[in-house]
C-alpha cells in the first residue's frame, strides 16, 4: 500500500466533503471586511432614532455570513494540524454554545432580580446563538493556532 492509498484510507468521505466546501484563503479578508462593516453599521444605527425595521436583522445576518465565510476559509498552508485545530475549535464552540443557550436566560433573570426589574425571562434568538458560536469558533481557532 503506497502513501496515496493510506491517505485515502485515513480520510473518510465526510472529511473529503468538508475539504470541498472550504473556501480559498482570500475569502478570509472578505469575511473580516463584512463583519467589520456590519459591526460599524450596527453601532451607527444605535444612534439613529427612526431606522427601517429591516436594517438591524439585515446587518445581523450580514455579520453572520461574514463570520461563516471566515470560519470556512482555508489557511495559507492547510495541513493536518490545522484540520485538527479546526475540529477542536468547532467542538468547543458547540459545547460553549449549548451552555450559553442554557444559562444565558438564567443569568439575565438573576441580573434582573438583583436590579429589581420584574421582566419575564426573554428568549434567546437564533441569530444571537449562531453569532456567539461562530465568534467562539473563530476566536478559539486563532488562539489554538497561536499556541500550536
Amino acid at each position: 500500500m503506497n502513501t496515496k492509498n493510506i491517505e485515502h484510507c485515513e480520510r473518510n468521505k465526510l472529511e473529503r466533503f468538508l475539504n470541498k466546501i472550504q473556501l480559498p484563503n482570500s475569502f478570509k479578508a472578505i469575511g473580516v471586511g463584512l463583519v467589520a462593516l456590519s459591526f460599524i453599521a450596527l453601532t451607527v444605527i444605535k444612534f439613529i432614532d427612526d431606522e427601517a425595521l429591516w436594517v438591524r436583522p439585515f446587518l445581523k445576518h450580514a455579520m453572520l455570513i461574514g463570520l461563516l465565510v471566515i470560519s470556512l476559509s482555508k489557511e495559507k498552508i492547510e495541513d493536518e494540524l490545522i484540520e485538527v485545530l479546526r475540529s477542536k475549535s468547532y467542538a468547543l464552540a458547540f459545547i460553549i454554545g449549548v451552555l450559553y443557550t442554557l444559562f444565558q436566560p438564567l443569568a439575565n433573570y438573576i441580573v434582573d432580580f438583583i436590579l429589581g426589574k420584574q421582566d419575564t425571562p426573554t428568549e434567546i434568538g437564533y441569530v444571537q446563538v449562531l453569532l456567539f458560536m461562530l465568534l467562539i469558533q473563530v476566536g478559539f481557532f486563532e488562539l489554538l493556532k497561536r499556541n500550536r
Binding site: T3, I6, E7, E10, E75, I77, D79, E80, L81, I82, V84, K145, R148
Partner: protein, 66 residues
C-alpha cells in the same frame, strides 16, 4: 510519544521550514511535532520516513505513559 525528528533533520542539514516544504506542511507543524505537542498521522510519519530513509520506528518511540 517521543521523537528524534530534530536529530534527523540536523543530519540532513535541513531547517524546519525546508523540511516543512518537503513534506507539504507548515513550519509550525514541524515545530509542534519536534516539541511533542502533536503526534502526526500515519501519512505524515511515512512521508518523514521516506525523506529520512529510515523506518518510522527509528525516529518515533512510545514513551512510558503511552
Amino acid at each position: 510519544m517521543e521523537n528524534t525528528i530534530k536529530v534527523e533533520r540536523a543530519i540532513l542539514n535541513l531547517t524546519q521550514d525546508e523540511l516543512a516544504q518537503k513534506i507539504g506542511v507548515s513550519r509550525q507543524t514541524i515545530n509542534s511535532i519536534e516539541a511533542n505537542r502533536y503526534v502526526p498521522s500515519t501519512v505524515l510519519a511515512l512521508k518523514l520516513s521516506e525523506l529520512f530513509g529510515k523506518p518510522v520506528n527509528d525516529f518515533f518511540k512510545l514513551s512510558d505513559n503511552d
